[in-house]
Symmetry: C2
């Protein structure tokens, strides 16, 4: 079975070896095995688990909470409900983020139009009617 050194694994995951060691220290990847001399060997499965960890991280989940999830995984079927609930909560959380992001895009697009018009006019004053005001921030 093909395995990867820490720096190979880091390369595939777009992380650094430092970060992987840090994750290990934090208990995020207790399943990664070592050679006799103590060198970590990452299996495909480990890379998949790390992709899941990155996925959870991208939802804004802190590393300590991800560790709880990993601990539940090690505990087996007794924690299935907790894990299911966690993913349902994550789903709700990301969906809320998605809604927020749509609003953000609207605001940014408004600004793009604002500045495009201003650039065409050569001045921001175009957005001030006849009144003298401070620029929009």
């Amino acid at each position: 079975m093909k395995t990867y050194s820490i720096s190979e694994a880091a390369k595939y995951l777009d992380l650094t070896a430092y970060t992987l060691r840090y994750y290990d220290k934090e208990g995020l990847i207790p399943f990664v095995e070592r050679t006799e001399s103590g060198t970590r060997r990452f299996k495909e499965k480990d890379l998949d688990a790390l992709r899941m960890i990155e996925c959870l991280k991208s939802t804004g989940m802190p590393i300590k909470e991800i560790k709880h999830f990993i601990d539940w995984c090690l505990e087996g079927d007794a924690t299935l409900q907790q894990r299911y609930d966690m993913f349902l909560e994550r789903k709700a959380c990301v969906e809320a983020q998605l809604e927020e992001m749509k609003k953000t895009i609207e605001m940014i697009e408004h600004k793009c139009r604002y500045y495009q018009t201003a650039l065409e006019a050569g001045t921001e004053d175009i957005h001030k009617g006849a009144r003298l005001e401070f620029p929009e921030y």
Copy 2:
């Protein structure tokens, strides 16, 4: 014209007074005026600017870069192009984030289904075929 104290402003923006003072110190809100005795008075316009700042922050823009934008605003029409470019870049950045988030949701939904099935079966083994393997993380 109605104005707000720092703690009122914080309440409306869902921030703390500490955070607003920190933003001020970092040069994000140089336009906020003070009373004779030095107390900050936030105008509606200032709250709008802060909403824009929060919007930029939500795109992952660091405070130092937001400050550059504020500085450009103070410099006037000479910086219109920079500001336009910045918003175009922000737009591209958030759109990329949106794509990432869609992939995240897919992964999370996969896991929700995985755990729902496992819960129904009472064991994660249902996902292992007949093989004995470690659980999915």
